[in-house]
């Protein structure tokens, strides 16, 4: 009993419980959901789909967590930044043509250009939020609306195709690796970020700035610099996610890459039990949140829910998960169960 109690107080208990619950539904409705087979040396199954398709969201959620933690606000431009990065990379590699079957510029040049643009977008957002003290949602609204326009401009309003097998690698698989490449990209991002946060003091700085920026400055932390850095990092994450998304479809589709993904990324942070008001955060919570969202989508596909009803089911599940984690509701439960105990105690006496 004591052990169970200890388990429930563990910070990641609720996010993990939600993920497990979503997956458990499948055990009843789609028994072969967990079946994994091997095809062409690759693992194959619904579970593999979940961890493959969630990769971009996991990468975005990592960046979003830090931005939320430091600034207490959300970056709603990440989806549009993904589209801009995809547009730049494909356009550099295609050398301005609409469809190519071989690189017109070296691969590394395209990737570097894309990452550079992502970092510039991050710097722009960071400058507005950290230096000009504009509310994060308003500041990032600029790139949210302008980003897709810029991406259209870069690609001349056309879908730019890079039909080179080498370009598809980031979004598909390599012979010899049993899991898709996007999964490894996500895992590397999570591991590197965790190492940076744990091995340096930066994680603590971010939390302290998020809890009280003024107090942090008084003890000698440059709050604006920390907030700025998290937005640059968020831009970089959006860039990496954009690379994976573009590689999946070996093209730059300015209208659709990363569409509405900023909302899913924010949701992932919330599902992970993190406060959107900033301060203390759990990176793993957001990662689990991201996998939960994708597990839900894949579950609905597997259950053959008709497409016009999908949003309703999603909304119901999200409402349940979010309210489960609400502190008010927890308090209410606690009070209720305590009250019962008290009543029971009286009876015995």
């Amino acid at each position: 009993m004591n052990k169970l109690k200890k388990l429930t107080t563990y910070r990641l208990f609720l996010p993990i419980l939600c993920l497990v619950l979503v997956l458990l539904v499948n055990l009843i409705t789609t028994p072969d959901f967990f079946a994994i087979s091997v095809r062409d040396g690759m693992l194959y199954g619904y579970i593999i789909d979940v961890i493959n398709r969630a990769s971009e969201l996991v990468i975005l959620a990592v960046g979003m967590t830090l931005m939320v933690a430091a600034s207490g606000g959300t970056d709603i431009s990440v989806g549009a930044v993904m589209a801009v990065v995809a547009g730049v990379v494909c356009n550099v590699l295609a050398g301005g043509e609409q469809s190519v079957t071989q690189y017109n510029n070296p691969y590394i040049l395209g990737i570097l250009a894309g990452i550079a643009v992502a970092v510039i977008c991050g710097c722009f957002n960071g400058f507005l939020v950290a230096k000009l003290k504009i509310q994060p949602m308003i500041a990032t609204l600029i790139l949210f609306t302008a980003g897709r326009g810029i991406a259209q401009l870069v690609t001349n309003g056309q879908i730019t195709y890079v039909r080179v097998d080498h370009y598809k690698v980031l979004g598909s698989s390599i012979k010899g690796l049993p899991l898709p490449v996007p999964f490894f990209m996500a895992i590397i991002v999570v591991i590197v970020t965790t190492l940076i946060l744990k091995k340096t003091a930066i994680g603590m700085y971010i939390e302290s700035v998020g809890i009280n920026a003024k107090a942090s400055r008084l003890v000698g932390l440059k709050s604006s610099k920390i907030i700025f850095l998290t937005y640059v990092f968020g831009g970089l994450m959006a860039g990496i996610a954009g690379l994976v998304a573009s590689s999946r479809i070996y093209s730059a589709d300015a209208n659709n890459i990363g569409l509405n993904m900023e909302l899913d990324a924010i949701l992932a942070v919330a599902l992970g039990g993190n406060s959107l008001g900033g301060g203390k955060f759990s990176l793993m919570g957001s990662v689990i949140g991201a996998y939960t969202i994708q597990a839900l989508t894949t579950t609905l596909y597997a259950m053959h829910v008709s497409s016009d009803q999908v949003p309703v089911y999603k909304a119901i599940v999200v409402v349940i998960i979010v309210s489960l984690q609400s502190p008010q509701l927890k308090k209410w439960f606690k009070k209720h169960s305590l009250g019962k105990k008290a009543v029971n105690g009286n009876e015995v006496a």
Partner: protein, 330 residues
């Protein structure tokens, strides 16, 4: 002094602009050309550009027309302004591709009073009195769906699979879009006529390649024996093809799974040439020739039908695709 120069310049500009307007009508009357004013939506997509090009290449002086073209940049007020200026210039016919469906009554009445017939292209208008316009020309999504269904029926017959149990899945467009609604309904009509066809599942791929791939991955895991995949636009089909290949299956004319799609963009031809896609059903932007036909009929004093669908072709791998692709405008 400066002011005087400015006012002289302005007056000159006004005179010049006034002079240009009558010049068109005078010239038109002299040459006995039919003057057509076209109020186009804008240039937001390849489809739209091809539509504009179709009018420009049909209504030439060699064909006996003078075309006054106006690009409204997706704004209704620009279109209304354009129609008013067409009326002032006393054109013979007005063609409008309306940006939105409502708010046209006043300006259409003005055209009616001036005795100028109005022809609608692409999108419809909601007006209380449909005598305000002559007719509407455009595509028919339901018919596209039915054509696709018929093509599948003929193709299966040809392969000797006419009586076999056929399992199908549909990757739908964005739910509620007119292309999704019409194409789903049209194909459904043909499915209902075949008892041996079974529509296993329909999911939305939101008209994108990435979602199309994701949905197809899921279909392939749920159903072992899929015979036909219907994708409601070309991009979804590209994603579906990738998913089929990743699952170790084959598609196209030589493969296990028949894949068809709608729209017929250039990349779809490339997919058919590569042997991955079976057929694509077009959404035809070339409205010019049909409008030309209608105007000729009206000139001869004939009645025309209120709703006129443009001819919509399809393309499959039995055709000389390289040649078609080389000629295609969009």
């Amino acid at each position: 002094m400066k002011k005087r120069v400015l006012s002289v310049a302005l007056t000159a500009a006004m005179v010049a602009s006034m002079a240009t307007v009558p010049a068109i009508t005078v010239q038109a009357a002299d040459d006995e050309l039919i003057v057509v004013g076209y109020a186009q939506v804008g240039a937001e997509s390849d489809w739209r550009t091809a539509n504009t090009e179709s009018f420009k290449s049909t209504f030439t002086e060699e064909n006996g027309y003078k075309l006054i073209f106006d690009d409204a940049q997706q704004k209704q007020e620009n279109q209304i302004k354009a129609i008013r200026s067409f009326i002032q210039q006393d054109v013979d016919y007005i063609v409008v591709a309306p940006v939105v469906e409502t708010g046209w009554e006043t300006v259409l009445e003005e055209a009616k009073e001036a005795g100028i017939p109005v022809i609608l292209s692409d999108r419809q208008m909601q007006v209380s009195d449909d005598s305000l316009y002559e007719c509407w020309v455009g595509g028919n999504f339901i018919k596209e769906g039915e054509t696709a269904g018929q093509w599948v029926a003929d193709y299966l017959e040809e392969k000797g699979r006419g009586e076999e149990e056929i399992n199908m899945v549909t990757i739908q467009g964005t739910i509620g879009a007119s292309a999704q609604v019409g194409r789903t309904e049209g194909f459904g009509n043909i499915v209902a006529q075949h008892e041996n066809w079974k529509m296993l599942d329909m999911q939305s791929g939101e008209f994108t390649q990435a979602k199309g791939q994701e949905v197809m991955e899921s279909f392939l895991k749920s159903y072992d024996d899929i015979d036909v995949v219907i994708c409601e636009n070309d991009n979804e089909a590209f994603g579906a093809i990738d998913a089929i290949k990743a699952a170790g299956k084959t598609c196209g004319p030589e493969g296990d799974i028949i894949v068809i799609s709608f729209d017929s963009v250039k990349a779809a031809f490339e997919a058919m040439i590569a042997g991955d896609l079976n057929a694509t059903f077009e959404c035809n932007p070339l409205h010019g020739p049909r409008v030309d036909e209608i105007i000729k009929k009206l000139e001869a004093g004939e009645e025309v039908e209120k709703i006129q669908y443009v001819d919509e072709a399809y393309f499959d791998t039995s055709m000389d695709l390289e040649a078609i692709l080389a000629e295609r405008a969009y």
